[in-house]
């Protein structure tokens, strides 16, 4: 190899390491240290590949929202609004056909309205576990923290999030919802429904991280000023009497961060007109994360394992080149 080629090779290798390795290193999730792409990443249905490690996947430029997604009750008297549950029949899609719940008060009985439970709604980063005896004698679900039990074919169904999924027995992470600008994404694999002495995992992704059939990860929108949100996900029922049906969950209401709840002395929402500080900081962090990613350049060289290995290889290459040159010089001198 000529000296000129060697001189060209070394800077090329250095450039490769500087631009290639750090981006690989940045894939190591750092909670709150915000990531790269603009769009939230709710995975489309049909992807059945499990997420590694069973931990929630973090959308790349999203900031976690820690608090309660307080839900407003489903209202089907005029226009449908609020929070609902629907069930897609086997072989159906997001557009139906849906199961008709004869106990629904709605005109379109495929909608089952949800009412807030004792916690007001879905709490992120912690579990809202079912009671030790999750059913009464008639098989009605008793969990009432997230949503109030609702009748489905004569029997109440209830919802909970548990560290161990009661249907599959898998250990699952607590719900995680992230914001990116005004978009929501997340992981609700711990979410489960109980009905008629049966448990149904209703999270997305499923406990093993897969998204089979019509399963769709949570997605939605949030108003950074008011905390008003809509959040929707769907989850294929795997096993049990409703095997291959799909539950669709639509939550609507107001997000209240733990920070805001603590500062207002408990579970109340922030005062009208006052922005939720937890939400505001998460939205700001997600925006900054995106900007940071866009301006990331040569200076952004956070050392991941790949970049360290690359650096060592570069140094070794340089040392070997230098040694070879010395040997060649010594040989020439002797000759």
């Amino acid at each position: 190899m000529s000296r000129a080629l060697r001189l060209l090779f070394v800077p090329l290798l250095a450039l490769l390491l500087l631009y290639g390795a750090p981006s690989a290193g940045a894939q190591i999730p750092v909670v709150g240290d915000l990531p790269i792409t603009e769009a939230p990443a709710p995975t489309s249905g049909g992807d059945t590949s499990p997420a590694p490690g069973g931990a929630p996947e973090s959308s790349s430029n999203a900031a976690p929202l820690v608090g309660t997604f307080r839900i407003s009750a489903g209202n089907c008297t005029s226009n449908l609004s609020g929070s609902f549950f629907r069930m897609i029949q086997p072989g159906g899609s997001a557009t139906g056909p849906f199961v008709t719940n004869s106990d629904s008060p709605c005109g379109d009985k495929s909608y089952t309205p949800l009412r807030p439970g004792t916690d007001g709604g879905l709490v992120t980063r912690s579990y809202q576990a079912q009671p030790a005896s999750p059913f009464d004698a008639a098989g009605n679900g008793k969990s009432a923290r997230i949503t109030a039990p609702a009748k489905f074919y004569g029997v109440d169904f209830a919802t909970a999030t548990n560290a161990t999924d009661p249907q599959t027995g898998a250990k699952v992470a607590a719900p995680e919802i992230q914001v990116s600008g005004t978009s929501l994404s997340g992981d609700t694999r711990a979410f489960a429904a109980s009905w008629n002495n049966q448990h149904f995992n209703q999270g997305a992704p499923k406990p093993d991280g897969s998204t089979p059939g019509n399963t769709k990860r949570p997605s939605g929108t949030i108003d950074p000023n008011t905390g008003a949100f809509t959040l929707e996900w769907s989850s294929l029922i795997v096993g049990g009497p409703f095997n291959n049906f799909t539950g669709v969950w639509r939550l609507e209401g107001q997000f209240v961060s733990s920070e805001a709840a603590a500062s207002s002395g408990g579970s109340a929402a922030p005062a009208t007109g006052a922005a939720d500080p937890g939400l505001a900081s998460a939205v700001a962090a997600s925006t900054q994360g995106g900007a940071g990613a866009r301006t990331r350049g040569v200076a952004d060289t956070r050392a991941g394992p790949e970049s360290i290995v690359g650096g060592v290889l570069l140094l070794a290459g340089l040392a070997a080149g230098r040694l070879r040159r010395r040997v060649a010089v010594a040989g020439t001198t002797r000759g």
């Binding site: 086997p90 199961v99 008709t100 719940n101 004869s102 106990d103 008639a138 098989g139 074919y153 004569g154 029997v155 009905w195 008629n196 002495n197 049966q198 096993g239 049990g240 009497p241 409703f242 095997n243 291959n244 049906f245």
Partner: protein, 311 residues
Amino acid sequence: MAENSRPRGALLAALAIGLGLAVAPAIFGMFSRAPAGGQMISEFKPYMRATTLDAFGADLQLIDAAHREVTASEPRPDSSGVSSFGREWPAIERDMSSMLSTIESNVPRYNGLVALPPFWAFPWFFVLPGLMIAGLAAWALRSPPPRRRLATLLLAACALSVIAAPAVFQMFTRAPGGAAMINDFRPLMTDDNIAKIQGSFLVIAGAEGELRTAVLPQAAPGTLPATREFVAEWPRIAAEMAPMIGAMADNLDNFAGVAALPPFTLFPWFFVVPGVLVFALALVARPPAERQLASQPAAPAATPLLERSAS
């Protein structure tokens, strides 16, 4: 040399049979399928009792009575759920009654399967005797006549116990019963049939909801007694039906695994045939007693068969 080739060949054949028995479960996928069968047997247990099946039968009669009442009432209730029920119930009733009678007729066969040793242990009934036969045959091959005689005796005893195992576990009567049960359940344990049962459940449940919330509140007191009873009993009926549908849906894969095993009727013969063969081979390979050996001073039989052949 020729005198020794027959026992050596017999022992090599016994060794091959032993190894064949030992690897057979892996070839037939029994290590995964047999436990799956065990799980299915265990999960079907609550529904394979005459009392449970009688209760289901009584529930069907109750729903049928409500159906007759509702379809005969004037004016006929005007709701989609009740209309579907009126239209679809006769076929649902026919299918469900047929399913119940199929299950009921298989209860004795199921009980026969339950009385067999646990399913998870099945592969080991092949592996362990297989390894014992192979080990004894190898030992006999490497032993000089006095010990070879003992080894072949043990080999014959092992073969006899393998022959006896199906009789001890009553496999000749229970295994064909299991095969018949698998055949009877084959049309029930399909995705399509489970989907059909799920649909039937929703038709019944949908009708119950509309009868409870729309029809009965407007009916005159004392009318529609069977319908009232159906609605009153629905939580119990649903609590019994839903887990049964769940058990069927959850065991589709397990059933497919069991159905893919070799036919149950052949299982006893998987023991008997190798057992008889190994017993016969052990007799062939058995060296003469010491007294007879003493009368034959020529040395060849005093050396191990395997070493002799190698030299």
